[in-house]
């Protein structure tokens, strides 16, 4: 059987919006309890919750309820949310990889279309590209390069492993088949870029 004082202190600590020390609790109880007596009861409450899904902990003399650290994974559930990289982002990534370090303006010059900020953000979020200082030209634009994570993800030992232009041609990746279609797709990506930003 839990006595009324213990119930009252437990409820107080539970409902309080900040950790309470023994003196504050004694003050709220409004009678002649000493902080020492309150502290003894608080320890009893803490012991009662030992090994349960709730714990009463002391931080700098102040007490508060929390969930045990070993159960934190239940409170924060992480879920994978895989997404296909957009064509625009793949192009930007390829340009950074082949031409690094490059500024955004240079990427745009190579792609022949505007690149939204969102596209670069996506690649930085994926940790495939990272800023690599500034180009010492007027405006001092940020320049980007690929990361180790990039090499790892694409199974490359180093940037030198990227196939050259001739290799790409030999692999048929530069064939002008359905060029119009590809251009049309490029325009679609532009629309997507606009949405991303």
């Amino acid at each position: 059987m839990i006595d009324d004082l213990e119930r009252a202190i437990e409820a107080m600590l539970f409902a309080s919006d900040e950790p309470l020390d023994a003196r504050q609790v004694a003050g709220r109880l409004g009678d002649e309890m000493t902080p020492g007596e309150v502290r003894a009861i608080i320890l009893r409450i803490a012991e009662r919750h030992d090994e349960s899904g709730i714990e009463l902990v002391e931080r700098g003399g102040h007490w508060h309820f929390q969930t045990p650290a070993d159960l934190a994974h239940l409170l924060r559930r992480e879920r994978d949310d895989p997404r296909k990289l957009s064509r625009a982002a793949a192009e930007v990534l390829a340009i950074v990889a082949y031409h690094e370090p490059v500024s955004r303006a240079e990427i745009e010059a190579i792609r022949g279309v505007q690149t939204s900020k969102g596209t670069l953000d996506v690649l930085m979020e994926a940790e495939w590209i990272a800023p690599a200082g500034r180009r010492e030209v007027p405006g001092r634009p940020l320049i980007y390069k690929t990361t180790d994570m990039f090499l790892q993800h694409f199974g490359l030992a180093s940037r030198k492993d990227l196939p050259g232009i001739d290799d790409l041609r030999a692999a048929g990746l530069l064939d002008p088949v359905d060029l119009a279609f590809e251009v049309a797709m490029g325009e679609l990506d532009l629309v997507k870029d606009g949405e991303e930003s």
Partner: protein
């Protein structure tokens, strides 16, 4: 049913029921509310109240009010109706009258009972242990979170293909139309002219096509042979016949 005083949280206008008669009409939530309060002053169960006495109380109250201030229309409408009810209740019963005054009085009583029931229910509900007043929650719970870890998918092929496209897009464009498998009209004409002399009787157009034409080539051959057949017919060199639309087309050498 147990009478409960209204919860103190209910708007102050309603709080002082006993003194209500001294208050302005703003205190009432409409005529039915006023009637209910007056009925309560009879200190009997609503099922036993005297409707006649209630009507008189209401009319007297409204009269008093009208002397002092403008009374809202719905209170006056109720007053007029109650005045009618009162006279009907007092007059000798007319069996032909429908609905009878007793029925009207019963309906009024039923309405008052229902409103009273809900008024008490509201008071009892508000008197329950309410969160933030009687019971308290944790002030700052950790909260449960669903965190989406976004993972971007792309293969090396995607990357290289994308680069190929960039290169292509920026290279000078040369348009080339690739050859597609077709049978030209000239070829079909020659073929048909040659065969028309061999077949003597009516034969289907498709019988004139080489058997090794398959797929798109065969479709092309049908189309060009059809046009060729029309051309030969125009020149008077073949006869054509067809039973109905979409039926097979037959041809034979003219005059054969």
């Amino acid at each position: 049913m147990q009478e409960l005083q209204l919860d103190f949280e209910i708007a102050p206008a309603a709080a002082e029921r006993e003194d209500a008669l001294q208050l302005s009409l703003d205190s009432w939530e409409g005529p039915l509310d006023l009637l209910l309060t007056l009925a309560r002053s009879q200190k009997v169960d609503l099922r036993q109240i005297s409707i006649l006495a209630l009507v008189e109380q209401y009319l007297a109250y409204i009269d008093e009010m009208r002397a002092k201030l403008e009374v809202a229309a719905d209170y006056l409408v109720m007053a007029a109706w109650l005045a009618y009810l009162k006279s009907a209740l007092l007059l000798p019963k007319d069996p032909a009258e429908d609905p009878s005054p007793d029925e009207l009085a019963l309906r009024l009583q039923l309405r008052l009972q229902r409103l009273a029931a809900m008024r008490e229910a509201a008071a009892r509900m508000l008197a329950r242990d309410r969160i933030g007043r009687d019971v308290f929650l944790r002030a700052k719970p950790e909260g449960l979170r669903d965190v989406k870890l976004r993972r971007w998918d792309a293969s090396l092929y995607d990357l290289l293909a994308a680069y190929g496209q960039v290169k292509l897009r920026t290279e000078p464009v040369v348009h080339m139309v690739s050859r597609r498998p077709v049978i030209t009209l000239d070829a079909a004409l020659q073929h048909l002219e040659r065969l028309i002399g061999i077949k003597l009787d009516w034969a289907e157009l498709s019988d004139f096509l080489p058997v090794d034409y398959k797929g798109p080539l065969r479709r092309s051959a049908i189309a060009s042979s059809f046009v060729a057949a029309l051309e030969l017919a125009r020149q008077g060199r073949v006869d054509l016949k067809q039973e109905a639309a979409f039926e097979p087309l037959y041809l034979k050498a003219a005059g054969a």
